[in-house]
Each structure stands twice: as structure tokens, then as C-alpha cells.
Point group: C2
Chain length 174, copies 2
Amino acid sequence: MDNLSSLLGICPVNLYSMTIDELDARLIALLTEEPRLGVLECSRRLGVARGTAQARLDRLVARGVITGFGPDVSPEGLGYDVTAFVSMEIRQVAGHDPVADQLAAIPEVLEVHTITGDSDLLCRVVARTNADLQRVIDRIVDVQGVLRTNSIIVLDTPVPYRVLPLVADVPRRG
Amino acid sequence: MDNLSSLLGICPVNLYSMTIDELDARLIALLTEEPRLGVLECSRRLGVARGTAQARLDRLVARGVITGFGPDVSPEGLGYDVTAFVSMEIRQVAGHDPVADQLAAIPEVLEVHTITGDSDLLCRVVARTNADLQRVIDRIVDVQGVLRTNSIIVLDTPVPYRVLPLVADVPRRG
DNA sequence: TTACACGGTGGACAACCTGTCTAGCCTGTT
DNA sequence: AACAGGCTAGACAGGTTGTCCACCGTGTAA
């Protein structure tokens, strides 16, 4: 395990061909469906020894496949029922980062990406109501370096964020 | 607690004014930063009784503020280094759902939204490489009812998805 | 005012899980 | 043939969980 760690330290990106096998996939799927499960229970359900389940889990975390086990907080659960994607053009001279930093200071801005295409930045924002969204967008427009914004409101989300199909798909290639 | 559950069953959306207090926020923040913490350790760090921490946590889950504790799987960790947003127009007669269902069958499609604006659907997709992205987009275009697509590639993500600022912001209003 | 529900505290219990270590076995590689 | 890496199986102490309990303060409603 020390070898693994040091190797990963030297070459943080790959080295292990970035694939997972079927057992890894089953482990992730199991934990995704029943997150409260302990390692021991996982090992029982997967039909392997506890040490194996533990080692697999540790390895997935070490490799960056699993980045954490944080609680999934739902904006809707907090009363933020409106989601929107806001794309924007920015003053190029200043670069992206100063703008991103200011956007990061707005709680309702959940993520910011720099993108290809007509716009420079795309961010996901939430708000309590459509009227509240106006307030959030105003804050974004006030950010130094933001020239123009374009908002797209999310009406419905037929497919909520998920990664499981990706996980289930990988072993067939590994 | 039975009362709470039944009331929530009847009125799943609100009733509790959808706000959290400072203790809830600190609990979520603590668990977000150190997910491996148990309830007992949380209670110690928050300076409250274990029963309190446990009750708060249960309530947050029951209210839908916390939707789960699933492992956070990183597409990058799986070798999917390219992220893109694909917006598309669809044949309106058929409605959104049949298209969304087919999109949901594509593992690389991580989420699908119906949106306002020129396009009808917006989805987030990942791929192993830009060339691989072409393959994924081809699959999307092949979906029955999809008329036109427009892809935006994510170059960088200065602000990765986060909800914590939202959580920290709420108590000031509750 | 008197009840009562609700949320918090502090303590207690058995059952369980975790971290850690051991030893042995198998397989692919050098 | 030797060796590293991964899996199994068993064992141990220590900590944690789930679940009780009694008690107390506060706000609401009769």
C-alpha cells in the first residue's frame, strides 16, 4: 500500500489504466444504493472477505475514483426550488480566475465552468423563486468583468445527476 | 417522530418552513468536511448530546435536506476526462419524456434537464477523450426525436459543484 | 394556570463494527 | 525459483451504534 501511495504520488493521474473491475463496480453500486452499509456488511453481500472489501474501497478512494462520502445536500430540500444555467461573456483581458473567484463568493452559484463556444463561463445557480433568481443574477452581473449574461431556467430534470451507469459500464472495457 | 413522519407523508414539501438552524448547518458542514465521522464524534465536536446529533441528522434526512450519503464517484477518476453540455431541440409532438428515457439509457449522459430558451433539453455528458465525445454525441443524435444538438465543452471548472455555502447561508434567514 | 408535545441532556446496555495484525494460499512476473 | 500483490480466514481490543430510560425547560393550547 505504501508502494501504491508513492506511485500515485509520483504519477497521480493513471498508472492503473484508470479502470475498475466488476467487483469494484459492484461495491460502488452497493454503496450507492445503501450508503449506510459498513465495510463488513458490504463484504458479506459481495461474497468476499472483509479485508478484500476494505482494500478495494481504500484503493478506490486512493485512486480518486471515490472522492468522498459526504452527505448529499439537496438545494430543493433547503427551499431552493429554482435552478438555472447562466452563461456569460467576460472581459477577456482580466482572465477567467478573478471572475470565477467572485462568482464563488455567491452561495447560490453551485458550480462554474469555463467553456468553449460563444460564452466564456457557464454556471449553475439556484434560487428560492423566480423573483429570487433575479436577485442572484443581479449579483452575478455586478461581478467585475462580467459583460453579458444569458440565463436558462431548468423546468424539469427527467434525469437527475448520476454516475452509476458509468460505473456499471466500465468493467466491460477493463 | 411518528407524527413527523406522517405529517411529512401528507405534506412532503414544506410544513417546516424548509429552513435549518445553525446547529443543522454546522452538522452538515462538519460531515461534508469529514464524512467518515460517526454520530458520536459529531456530537462531541458540536458540543451537544449524542441523541441530539442523531435526531438532527435523522430529521435532515427525513426532511429531504440530506438525500443520502452515497460515495461521490468522480468521472475523472474513471478516466472520463472530458465534460460537455449538450443542448438540443427535439420534436415537440412527442413530448420530452420519450427522449429523456432514451438519453437516460446512455451511460455517459450524467443528467438531463428540460429548459427554457431556444433549446428544449440540456444534458451534461462525459467522455474519455474528445474523440470519444464524438461517439457519445452520435448516440445522442441517434435518439428518436432529437432534431439538432449543440455541444459546449468544459475547459476547466474553477468552482466544482458545492452546496456548502448555501447551507452556511440559510441560518441567517431562518 | 394546567396539560402536553417537543427537543435537549446524561447515562446505561448489549450487539456490532472498525482498525489492525496474523498466517496461509494462489497467481503472474522477474 | 523467488517474489510481490491480492484474497481468505481468524483473532483481538476498543470504539460506536441502536435503543432504552428518566429528567428538564419551553412554547402552545385548552
